[in-house]
Symmetry: none
DNA sequence: GATGAATGAGGCTTCATTCAT
DNA sequence: GATGAATGAAGCCTCATTCAT
């Protein structure tokens, strides 16, 4: 889902611009509604700022004015660039998930063994946290509420693909004798999943550990436990 | 968005310091509301309207909606210009007192004799009533409750200066033999003070008497009494 | 208007108890609505407390709960004694005005000379301030808003009688040569009226001056002025 | 009413001290709201409802009306029991943390070995999740924003005690040779901490696994890893 | 006579959003 | 591209009032 440039082709379906009620099928370009992307760079810049504020304060607690303040403009001016506060959120999360799946898909298509796949997925996850820390934090906090809305359908789509990828990997591992078979596999799935993503809540880029380093330590704990083997 | 080094550009957003990019418009984007910036004329206009409603109905009985109605806008719109209903009240009274003391200070610095000082203060007071009738009426009705709040500290400050100015003048007059010495001076102070300011409750500008004319008659009564001299 | 015991005979007209819609003219004592005066002493006590709070904080700013707190009961309990907050106010002011006019009528019927009448009215006024300080303060602050309501019709009735009594006295005084004839008589009226009643805003019973003493000093100022006669 | 000596009985009303006449019911009638008194059972019941809604929708996205709806009452009615929406949140979290620390303190005082301590703490945590699922979920989502407020000071206090307890236990374990010494101990701490608490986001009481069962599996993974030992 | 709990209306305020300039 | 001013809906909270106990 969601090729990188898809967001540029979708705008009409997002704005609820009332179609000329009767005939006249040719879109006369109608209202002056800014629609989208008058300048992709500025857009991206503003989304980065918005993501930071969302992550810091929570989506609901973030007012459009706070974002505008952080961007050095007035609240109303944001509407030249975006349809709504929600569409900023949407674009932030969509962009993140798009890139995330780019990475995951590479891993999954590499046809590695289950343990190597798990290692690669975890490492890739920490890299995404490193690059999209704000988006990940937002995702963690808000996705539960959002999945209910059609507009955020892609969140649950992604969740399902995610779950499938992990469960499959774990099951393969159990079948091949590299993962323990005495564990509830869904519990193990949640264990691994949460273990990785919650890191976004405390991870600060440039804070001593590289994503790969953190991934290595996490994997070591997940795979071998923290107790000394006897 | 969110290159590793993006975190270097983040402080802006956290410290709320608007980017200088756009040339830093007037609004310093404080913690909360516009506070002072947006066009002083409109502000003054709205404060005048609010003062009239406050004076007419009392501060507590005045809903923000009534003010907005009188201004031809919606209640919420007032908050573009003011922080709160109370801050409107505050600004109305502060503005009034500031101008009042401009006038009083001129009189007091003129080093007139006590009787002339009293005449000048009374006349000045009626002029202020003429110009700030609504504010004076509000002051009369509300100041008692307000002095308790730190925000309205300046009200009691003003009251003290006021009392001092009048008492001094009266005492000088007694000492110099122009005012009677058989009167309780604090009672005389209250007498003069109240006598003047209550006028705001019935005075209507443009209603036959100029402030100076009213002042002259009041002074005649205060100084010489209403009985025929025998 | 309003004999002392009238408040006991009026209840039905105050409560909006819906008359049995159709026939059945005999009031079956219907709803359990407390109506009035289950105990006149407690009632009077509570009204005194309420008056103090109204005077202190203003009618609108006074919540029923504040009154109840001061009375050591819960807000709802007040409704056993009174129909509504407003009816407390009404009864406070009505009681005060009734007593006031008892005093005034005695004076006016005594057929004194204008100067003596004025002295007697002023003295009587200060006595009322002494006895009904809270009610007077409430009257000062609230009567302007209240006169608009039919329920408080008696306020404007009283004001008119009041104005008539004073103007007549002043005019008689001018005609008989005891009051100056070079003054605007309405201004003089307001001067005397305000001079007296504002005292309620600072007067504290038992504070050094008896009402008669204050009256004497006020009269001295009003009649002879504060300046030394030359 | 209002005999001269009435002023002697007035202090009661100004100091808000309820008359002892009626035997001083529970409610001390403080400056504002009930605060604590009204029936603890109803209070607890409502807090439970509120906690569920907060957990489900997030604190900010939860309107007071939603809580009231869930409780079968009107929004305003909640304010008979609580000062504010925020104070509900506060009480929910405080109650949870109090009980949590009751459990933790028992464990910590038992002077167990590091591995047994870790097991007991984890098990205790899952029990708390079982009992206070909503509160835990709220804590996870909101505590970050809340710690900034003085009112929620106890959150960071708790966090520090929490961190200290865990780090100490881990360090002891490393020192005694039961936990691996090749791991970053702070990373291990976060690993264990998050691993446990995120469970609140998906745990449903009565859903197949008892808290003890989940604890056992989690501990197994945390201690020994998910990979098969070679 | 009073309490405890609730109602309902309304008040102040916030905020996403719009739009003329 | 952005500002200034406004809209309208909604949110939190207060308060007079009611009523069963």
């Amino acid at each position: 889902m969601s090729k990188p440039n898809q967001s540029a082709s979708e705008p009409n379906q997002r704005t609820n611009e009332p179609n000329q009620r009767t005939g006249a099928p040719k879109q006369t370009a109608g209202k002056k509604k800014p629609q989208v992307s008058p300048s992709p760079e500025r857009r991206r810049e503003l989304l980065g700022i918005a993501a930071d504020v969302f992550a810091e304060q929570g989506y609901n607690a973030t007012t459009v004015r706070k974002i505008a303040d952080a961007a050095g403009m007035l609240a109303g001016s944001l509407y030249y660039h975006f349809d709504s506060k929600e569409s900023m959120l949407e674009e932030i999360l969509r962009t993140f998930l798009t890139e995330l799946w780019d990475g995951y898909d590479s891993v999954l298509q590499a046809q590695l063994g289950p343990r190597e796949t798990l290692e690669a997925l975890v490492t890739e996850s920490f890299r995404e946290i490193d690059r999209h820390r704000a988006a990940v934090a937002i995702y963690q906090k808000e996705s539960r509420h959002l999945v209910a809305q059609k507009r955020f359908q892609y969140l649950s789509d992604s969740q399902q693909r995610f779950e499938k990828a992990w469960l499959t990997t774990l099951e393969r591992g159990v079948a091949e004798g590299v993962f323990r078979d005495d564990l509830d596999i869904r519990l193990a799935y949640r264990f691994v999943r949460d273990t990785v993503w919650v890191a976004a809540s405390w991870y600060r880029p440039g804070g001593g550990h590289s994503p790969e380093e953190i991934a290595r330590q996490y994997l070591s704990m997940v795979l071998d436990g923290i107790s000394v083997r006897t």
